[in-house]
Amino acid sequence: MEPIKCDLDFEQPLEELAERIRVLCEEGGALENPGRIQEATEELHTRLQEIYANLTTWQTVQVARHKDRPRADDYLRLICDDFMELHGDRVFGDDAALIGGLAIFDQQTVLFLAHQKGRGTKDQQFRNFGMPHPEGYRKAYRLMEMAGRFKFPVICLVDTPGAFPGLEDEERGQSEAIAANLALMARLPVPIIAVVIGEGGSGGALAISVADRLLMLEHSIYTVAAPEAAASILWRDSAFAPDAARAMRISARELLSTGIIDGIVPEPVGGAHRAPTLMADHLQVALKEHLHVLKQLSPPELLERRYQKFRAIGRFACLG
């Protein structure tokens, strides 16, 4: 039985219970103490459920950024078959932070695009922590344009702290690359579903999430600016990131009530990192449901509804 870790600060109250379970398992495991282990595990489960049903915005940020949170490739392995990665933007390079490829999903060919954050120091550096360069967005552009021609639906797994803000990125047109994707996706005549699986980091996330359905995993976030950045500007100190996060309402739950996102994919108790396979199941079910509905629409209908979805986002009034 896998040891249960309670490594987030707000999970500390459960550490004692988790430790007790670990000790019981070591002492003899399921053979010696089945009843007590079962009881303790159930109690832990219940208390975890209580905590996770009432996460604050900042606690959600911590879960969204958890080092063990499943990455895009974890889901790709589990939710689709025969994933074949495609590389390069045909102009400059191949960005490891934004991956794309074809797969069979629900008995059809689908283009998958995803931010890939990496696991462990070396991989994270190779993946640039999931922060794409212009060539990543241009790879996404060329693959989406191709998917449009071949009528492949597009599914995007969004998980990035943001587009990489380097000098070379400015030189290579980071802003133009993002803008071009927004315009392309708005008119792409195939179903597009985007799911935020971790962090939706601002424009760098938006560049692959102009979609017919924008979903978020239960404990994910989507930001206009990183809480640390917002805090350093509007609170004059990045230490106020939790306040900024709350003020900007960046958690999936808060965003659902704004109407900007179309649905939340529930996570297993204690977050996706505690049960990645179960999470992948939930995700697959949600994607299949939405894809099925979208496929009923003709391309012109699809495009019109997508336009109206984004057209309606915004809150304003007329004076006088």
Binding site: L182, L206, V224
Partner: protein, 311 residues
């Protein structure tokens, strides 16, 4: 002309903006005593010689003291070093369009503070009211119909003086309405950008305006209607990464700061000081990202030519 500008999310507080605003309020000799230190000598000189007070300001680029009047006559461009001062939306419109040809639309749209946003330094609802009062606009963009050298077009001009030209629901809505006007009338669109980026106080509503405006422009493109994008100092963040960089032709004023991340953020990530001129209009031209740099006094004529090419 190379220049590094520190980007501030709030309304500009460079010495030029402060002094210009203060000067506008100056009417009387008593008021002169309230001027800031650098201005006093010149203002007093005008006064003691008994001629009408020459209101003075300092060019942030060449540091010369200029008379406001000579600067205004030069379209708010420094006559010595050609530094392009930031313009109010109505000033920009007046410089660009044929006399009396501008009809404004949708001037009355205002933000409704959708998140009830409060930070340590401000209450957003109050900030909006203050800015409306101070700047004389309801938000950071003015849209309408105009003619340039006789040719009809739709115009959207941003104003950095309103909460740093930041894009929230109102800017996104008005830009989108401008695009839809161009689409329904089948006339060209010109958008003059000036922005510190997306307006954080409106959270994800602000980010989504990038997608909303880009979607509208994609429709305009499909309809075969031209869109000219003018980048002015500063154009940054979510505005650059959406409608600003989608023009069929992209023009920029000389020396402007135009970027995605901004020099300070880049320096943080690169752990290095950036060379002078990084993320300037000239830098963008050199890297193939814009079509041309146009000095302010040539803008109207250049736009006239473009409108004739595309008609």
């Amino acid at each position: 002309m190379k220049r590094m500008v520190d980007l501030v999310e709030q309304a500009p507080t460079t010495i030029v903006e402060r002094t210009t605003e203060q000067l506008v309020a100056l009417q009387s000799p008593e008021a002169l005593e309230r001027t800031t230190e650098p201005l006093k000598p010149l203002a007093l000189v005008g006064q003691t010689r008994g001629v009408p007070t020459g209101l003075a300001l300092k060019c942030p680029e060449c540091k010369q003291i200029l008379f406001e009047r000579e600067c205004n006559k030069n379209q708010k461009v420094c006559p010595r070093c050609h530094y392009h001062f930031r313009l109010r939306a109505h000033e920009r419109i007046e410089l660009l369009v044929d006399a009396d040809s501008f009809t404004e639309y949708d001037a009355d749209l205002v933000s409704v503070d959708p998140l009830n946003f409060v930070s340590a330094s401000q209450v957003y609802a109050q900030k909006l009211a203050q800015e409306r009062e101070k700047v004389g606009l309801n938000d950071a963009v003015v849209i309408g119909h105009a003619r340039i050298e006789g040719k009809s077009l739709i115009l959207a001009v941003m104003d950095f003086h309103f909460i740093g030209g930041s894009m929230g629901s109102v800017v996104g809505e008005k830009i989108t309405r401008a695009v839809e006007q161009a689409l329904s009338r089948r006339i060209p669109l010109l958008v003059a950008s000036a922005s510190g980026g997306a307006r954080m106080q409106e959270g994800l509503y602000s980010l989504m305006q990038m997608a909303k405006t880009a979607a509208a422009l994609a429709q305009l493109r499909e309809a075969g209607i031209p869109y000219f994008s003018l980048l002015t100092d500063p154009t940054t963040g979510g505005v650059t990464a959406s409608f600003a960089m989608l023009g069929d032709v992209i023009l920029a004023e000389p020396g402007g700061l135009i970027c995605f991340a901004g020099p300070r953020v880049i320096e943080q990530f690169m752990h290095a000081k950036l060379p002078a001129g990084t993320a300037s209009a000239e830098f963008l031209l050199e890297h193939g990202l814009i079509d041309m740099i146009v000095p302010r006094h040539e803008l109207r004529a250049t736009l006239g030519r473009l409108l004739r090419f595309y008609s």
